[in-house]
Symmetry: C2
Subunit: 144 residues, 2 copies
DNA sequence: TTATAAAAAGACATAGAGGTCTTTTTATAT
DNA sequence: ATATAAAAAGACCTCTATGTCTTTTTATAA
């Protein structure tokens, strides 16, 4: 469903959040190692997330990635939107250019149901809630 | 969610089925025109579907694409499987290589719910049921 | 039995996602 | 001030999805 880039983005943000709770600011090399993603490419993805203001960064010695306002929840939707683009949840599942309630494709209603359940999920789940699950040992990032 | 190739495949099969009901065997050029897809590429996609035995074809004058056993329902799942590959519905939504009930990623259960509702839908819907919807004017292929 | 109309096949082209390498900038510690 | 450690930036590379062009094969009609 989601591209690899988006998966790296979510895993990276979760890792950063967990490390921030320990008062650490991880760099992209450490992040890539811990979330099992390609190092340089992860750096690029984090650059994009920083530009989209989903995370902050500091250059120089002692620098790294961190959340300016850790209490401000970041939904998975925000991450998906930033990486995959705004139309991700609005395209016709049948591939028609014109498809709406008045002129529906034969999948219209059933696809809408699936799409909405995905949409609901990514709006409920946040980087923080995933990180908490990992901290409570109810889930894993595979390296933590 | 689905790749363009899969969308073309489904639309093409629906169109073929509708034409078969009129005792016609459309060729890939006609199909491409009617489902609004690139002509040559649609030919390739149909070759693959024929190899996967989801549709039959005849060369030569009067040839074209058709269903050998039109009463044998083809679920969208079969088409997706043939084009996107067997793992499409089993990959971890978080991107982890190892992810199962014993060692779940933090999205495991919620993603499973979404994935299953998609899976259920594509197993219920068939080329035939979509075609019937179009014939009953309850939906459109945009050119029919 | 030959011309024709169709799919099949194969070689090639393009765009975008995913990924790497090198250089530049910047903050900090010494 | 200077060395160092970090992200940022930019130029590239690779692979896959998507798409095109040309040639070959095959069934049918004339």
């Amino acid at each position: 469903m989601l591209g690899k880039t988006t998966e790296y983005a979510i895993r990276a943000l979760v890792y950063i959040y967990i490390q921030n709770m320990e008062r650490e600011r991880p760099g992209f090399k450490e992040i890539a190692k811990m979330i099992d993603s390609p190092e340089q490419f992860t750096g690029k993805v984090l650059q994009n997330l920083a530009r989209a203001e989903l995370v902050s960064s500091m250059k120089g010695r002692g620098g790294g990635f961190f959340f300016n306002e850790p209490t401000n929840p970041i939904t998975l939707f925000k991450v998906i939107e930033a990486i995959e683009g705004k139309e991700y949840f609005s395209k016709c599942g049948f591939g028609l250019k014109r498809c709406d309630a008045n002129n529906p494709c034969p999948l219209h209603d059933d696809y809408a149901h699936v799409r909405d359940s995905f949409f609901k999920m990514v709006n409920e789940k946040t980087i923080q809630s995933l990180a908490n699950k990992i901290n409570k040992r109810e889930a894993t990032l595979n390296r933590l």
